[in-house]
Amino acid sequence: MAKMTMVQALNLALRQRMEADDSVIVLGEDVGRDGGVFRVTDGLIDQFGENRSVDTPLAESAIVGMGIGMAVFGLRPVCEMQFSGFSYQAFHQIESHAARLRRRSRGRFTVPMVVRAPYGGGVRALEHHSESREAFYAHIPGLKMVIPSGPRNARALLVSAIEDPDPVIFFEPKAVYRAFREEVPEAEERLPLSRSQLVREGRHVTLVAYGAMVRPTLEAADQLQAHSGIEAEVIDLLTISPIDDELFTASVKKTGHAVVVHEAPKSFGPGAEIIARMMEKSFYYLEAPIIRVTGYDTMFPLFAREQWYLPNARRIARAVQETLKH
């Protein structure tokens, strides 16, 4: 076991999968010699050569499109989009092909491809480098949309994503990349791409979060407990889509109250789906309106203002108090 950052843990996941399976190929802009602009693919070119850690020309549609061809052939491409804000150039490849080839060929061809992309704010970045638009991908049938929250689950989820027979969009929270370390065992771990996790037990309110928002949510839970004796249950989604609604509907049945947290803009964001499912499946247990603590329906500001855009522990705690007032 070693203490690792999320970047190191992701790197470990890639390295071990590449060692185990020569059909795993990493490709994208600057993933080879440079090791990726965040160094997630660091060293892979030295160990596996430039045919396994492939520096491509600057063209996202071709990166994903080529990945699709590779996957159809039988390889396991792991495409990197340098930032999730540049994955839109490949949107049609993802929507119209990656998600559909299985059905379009009645199962003859599948797309066991991972599209990795750093997402989210909090790292003082330029425009287009801070957005959280996982909802776009979560709304595409045929895909899986995964977002880890810490080094250890990032590694386990990436291993599972690479092994998954279906295309997985894998957003990595930049704000967590180097924010803290966790013990990550050397032996490969896996997490199912269909399960959220209970990360804190509580009986007064259910908090649902994922990615970089898990930490401020836990912080809020701690503060609430310390200052007001409120015991918040915290659920980390891990997989955004297909969504696991069992855990959070069970939790809200227990607590009767919920707050949903994400960085993405509020309207038509993932929080709406979570609320709709709590409504559908735990309506009679709800004691108060469910509150969303999210990004605003605005452009992500340049970084001098990002602290106001991003949900933080204070905003989350206040929302909890608000919903418990009812």
Binding site: T56, A62, I68, G69, Q93, R102, R108
Partner: protein, 368 residues
């Protein structure tokens, strides 16, 4: 020499072997084996007749919208004839006869255009991707296949088809660039049929040829008479051999013509003249190749008549089989098939709800 001209070692070749007057350039004539010639001719004729039949079925409302291929038979067949069975073929949506050559079944076309998802089944041995409708978006897939072929050291190539209109899409450019940077075994076959729905070739791009777009990537580009099966085959074989030999990608522009409508939803009288179509009818690829086969002695009038009958029967049987299937109500539960390797719980629930709904509807129907 501060202002100089760059010596660019590029050239765009133009190839024609058997011209529209029937003149054959023997020096360029590719050797097609005595088995190949009649097979090619038969497939071409089958493609033509099946296309005609689909048009009439569509007009009668027995199938839905489809894109006819009339006029492009040589262009498609000449290209795929240069492939081995386990080479990869990545079609667009107008390669019916090329797909037939590669083993696709007539009734699947009918079922597909009648809206049956079952029709897209692809045999375990087939190396043919399904139809791809978003224009040019399939080109990067061929590049990915070719990349994998190279990575796995396979003696294969990938060939992909697209129209003149497709050359305007970003995906065309990105795919050719990738193929050339990685020097991949892929052949890009452009079916320049002069029209992208209502947009004529000269409004699609301002370049004199489409083939010359290869120069942007230092890739060989060749323009061939697409109504001349021999020329297309020769160019394709050269490109396939180069690709297989490690020589990288090629762009082939087949100059042909969409003699029919864009799709059956289209009304070409809004944008093109009959006179233009007439001009191209004179260059009909089927007639030209048929004449050649007769000259070669592998075909004669009697055999053609016999063939026409065989083909008519073959089509009739396929129509029969397809319509029999169409009459059966498709299984509604198929909605949930082939979405994921393992159906996720959200979808299991939706499927269950759907089952309940169907049962309730059947119940209602029974009780009026």
């Amino acid at each position: 020499m501060p202002k100089s001209e760059l010596e660019l070692p590029y050239r765009i070749e133009v190839l024609s072997v058997l011209d529209e007057t029937g003149h054959l350039d023997q020096a360029l004539e590719p050797e097609l084996t005595p088995e190949m010639l009649p097979r090619l001719h038969r497939t071409m004729l089958l493609g033509r007749r099946f296309d005609e039949r689909m048009l009439s079925l569509q007009r009668q409302g027995r199938i839905g919208t489809f894109p006819p291929i009339k006029g492009q038979e040589a262009s498609q067949l000449g290209a795929v004839a240069a492939l081995e069975a386990n080479d990869w073929m990545v079609p667009c949506f107008r390669e019916m006869v090329a797909q037939l050559w590669r083993g696709a079944r007539l009734e699947n076309f009918l079922l597909y255009y009648a809206g049956f998802d079952e029709a897209v089944a692809i045999g375990a041995e087939q190396h043919d991707l399904p139809v791809s409708i978003p224009v040019a978006s399939q080109l990067p897939h061929a590049v990915g296949l070719a990349w994998s072929i190279k990575y796995r050291n396979q003696p294969q190539v990938a060939m992909t088809f697209f129209g003149d209109g497709a050359t305007s899409e970003g995906d065309f450019h990105e795919a050719l660039n990738f193929a050339s940077v990685f020097q991949l075994p892929v052949v890009f076959v452009c079916q320049n049929n002069q029209w992208a729905i209502s947009i004529p070739r000269h409004r699609q791009t301002h370049s004199r040829t489409l083939a010359q777009k290869a120069l942007a990537y230092d890739m060989p580009g060749i323009q061939v008479d697409g109504n001349d099966l021999l020329a297309v085959f020769r160019a394709a074989r050269e490109a396939v051999e180069r690709a297989r030999g490690g020589g990288g990608p090629t762009l082939i522009e087949c100059v042909t013509y969409r003699m029919s409508v864009h799709t059956t939803a289209d009304d070409p009288s809004r944008y093109r003249t009959d006179a233009e179509v007439e001009e191209w009818v004179k260059r009909d690829p089927l007639e030209r190749f048929q004449r050649y086969c007769i000259d070669k002695g592998v075909l004669d009038q009697t055999r053609i008549e016999q063939l026409e009958q065989e083909i008519a029967a073959e089509i009739q049987e396929a129509v029969g089989r397809a319509e029999a299937k169409m009459k059966q109500e498709p299984d509604p539960m198929d909605l949930f098939e082939h979405m994921y390797d393992q159906l996720p719980r959200t979808l299991v629930e939706q499927r269950e709800a759907f089952t309940r709904q169907l049962a309730a509807e059947r119940e209602e129907a029974r009780h009026g």
